[in-house]
């Protein structure tokens, strides 16, 4: 179980995250913190006509958050703004049910489903998502 959480792909995203660094020409940005565990990230988006051209993140966080932010920024590029919330909902459903088959549309974010077995860590996997939704001012209904 532990090996699935700290599997190679997640650890690699943690050590060498993609799209890491702040973005000078972002159109949207938000800060996401999880004071409890010390995560403090900023998600950066450049959006043109409701399409995400580029996504980045910066800040400090644990492996789960960093891996998720790294994968999510990759996933976001080229997506429509309206795809985010449904994808997040599918992502949450994955966490809640270990038996659910991978969701193709989520791509490599499927790797993070192993977080579902670690209730204390789910908030980490959700933080990049929630921060993006906040940057785009999309109400997530998640508390």
């Amino acid at each position: 179980m532990l090996d699935r959480l700290y599997q190679k792909v997640i650890l690699e995203h943690n050590k060498a995250p993609n799209n890491f660094g702040s973005m000078a020409d972002a159109t949207h940005s938000a800060r996401g913190t999880d004071a409890l565990c010390g995560d403090d990230i900023q998600m950066w988006l450049r959006v043109t006509e409701r399409t995400i051209e580029k996504a980045q993140f910066s800040g400090e966080a644990c492996a789960v958050t960093k891996a998720c932010a790294s994968m999510l920024t990759e996933w976001l590029e080229g997506r429509g703004v309206d795809e985010i919330l449904p994808a997040f909902e599918a992502f949450q459903a994955l966490m809640d049910d270990a038996d659910r088959p991978p969701v193709e549309a989520l791509g490599q974010l499927n790797h993070l489903r192993s977080v579902g077995a670690f209730p204390a860590r789910r908030a980490n996997a959700y933080l990049p998502w929630k921060t993006v939704l906040e940057a785009m001012q999309i109400p997530s209904g998640l508390t």
Binding site: N14, A35, D40, A63, V64
Partner: protein
């Protein structure tokens, strides 16, 4: 008391015998023996505490203070005996000076609302330290926000020691209270509370001490400390959840208006006018946590039986050993290196977020705490988002430290991959 226990002073604490008193230590976690090193968050309860609670519910459960029937008399006596036990444990001059609360947090809020608030004006000052737990920080912030008073802070150095020489400058005629944590839960620092009290009392300023992390590890004597308020949490000292206390000088309690209103704290009520009960009852509105007080008394008995000095000596050995073992880790930094420390080691490790450390060692049965430990300003001071923290109790062993170190090596290896 068995012979085994009687000679504890000669040959130190019989930790194996203590361990047998804690049912939870039989437990396995992720198929490994539980190594519980999260004692500063809440410690485990010995059989005698669990049985005291159980015994109350099975044998003499009743409401207190208001009944003439036998169960109520027994419950009231046990409840008041708990008050007396705690008074003695803290060397308080009188039982009447012990107010039962839910814990340190409620105790501080009681002092903030009932002692400080009525006389606090804009421009007045409250002085705390940079290493306070939120329990002894947020209530003062809220109060300052409300009244326009100012919150001032005794600074610390890079070891997590207070700059004692600044205290007298920081106190002035507008200072209404000094609040200081006796033992820091985040850094381990044992603060020179008696010295601070001396400085403050010379200037006529009352001192509140947050004793959450002190009572399980130190012989606390409120008269020797010469403080005005001392706050205690039962669950940090082998007692039940939901119970704690405020010790305060009788003169203060008598002068303070009640905070919460309700039954028990009144003497006489009409629709037009109410007169309040005597101390400490004036501050104990509503049905108290009777089982909690009774369990807390059993926890005090536990500490007395084994001897807090013997326990502390053992814990200090664990602290020294852990500090030494951790110094061998590459990229590991211990946060809080005061000369006098409680049995707490906070640390950060390069390339390994505290949260990930916590999750990994948990899978080897090791329970430690990660995060800000409700002391965010201290984290900010050391410029760390979070730390991992191990903290010890009487039942921990050197073998458990070894198990923790081995698990930490695995975590470091895993995250380095």
């Amino acid at each position: 008391m068995t012979a085994e226990r009687a000679d504890k002073d000669v040959r130190g604490l019989d930790v194996e015998a203590i361990r047998r008193e804690f049912p939870i230590l039989q437990r396995r976690v992720h198929d490994k023996p539980l190594v519980y090193l999260d004692n500063a968050a809440t410690c485990q309860r010995p059989r005698q505490v669990i049985e005291a609670i159980d015994g109350y519910y099975r044998d003499y459960n009743a409401n207190v203070h208001r009944g003439v029937h036998q169960l109520s008399v027994e419950a009231s006596e046990a409840f008041e005996a708990a008050r007396a036990g705690l008074a003695r444990f803290l060397n308080a001059p009188s039982d009447r000076e012990i107010v039962f609360t839910r814990g340190v947090t409620e105790s501080v809020n009681l002092v903030a609302n009932s002692f400080v608030r009525p006389t606090l004006s804009a421009g007045d000052e409250i002085l705390i330290t940079h290493m306070e737990h939120h329990a002894n920080l947020v209530p003062w912030q809220m109060l300052c926000e409300h009244t326009g008073a100012t919150l001032k802070v005794i600074p610390m150095d890079g070891n997590g020691e207070l700059l004692l020489d600044q205290v007298s400058e920081l106190i002035n005629e507008r200072t209404k209270l000094v609040g200081v944590v006796h033992v820091s839960n985040a850094l381990g620092t044992v603060n020179p509370v008696a010295d601070i009290c001396q400085i403050a009392k010379d200037r006529g300023v009352p001192v509140l001490v947050d004793g959450a992390q002190a009572t399980p590890h130190l012989n606390v004597d409120v008269q020797a400390l010469n403080c005005d308020f001392y706050c205690v949490s039962g669950h940090k000292m082998y007692g039940p959840t939901g119970i704690g206390a405020l010790w305060a000088r009788a003169a203060h309690l008598e002068a303070m208006p009640p905070w919460q209103g309700g039954g028990e704290m009144i003497e006489h009520v009409t629709l037009d006018k109410t007169t309040f009960n005597e101390i400490p009852h004036k501050f104990e509105a509503g049905t108290p946590h009777i089982a909690g007080a009774i369990g807390l008394k059993a926890a005090i008995d536990f500490l007395d039986d084994w001897g807090i000095e013997a326990i502390a000596e053992h814990e200090q050995r664990l602290l020294a050993y852990t500090t030494e073992r951790l110094s061998a880790f590459e990229g590991l930094r211990i946060i809080g290196q005061a000369r006098a420390k409680g049995p707490v080691v906070s640390f950060v490790m390069e390339g390994a977020h505290a949260n990930d450390i916590g999750t990994i060692v948990d899978h080897f049965g090791v329970a430690l705490r990660t995060g800000h430990h409700c002391a965010m300003p201290a984290m900010q001071f050391f410029d760390v988002p979070a730390t991992a923290r191990v903290s010890f109790a009487a039942y921990n062993t050197l073998e458990e430290v070894e198990a923790f170190v081995a698990a930490l090596e695995r975590a470091q290896g895993m995250l380095k991959q």
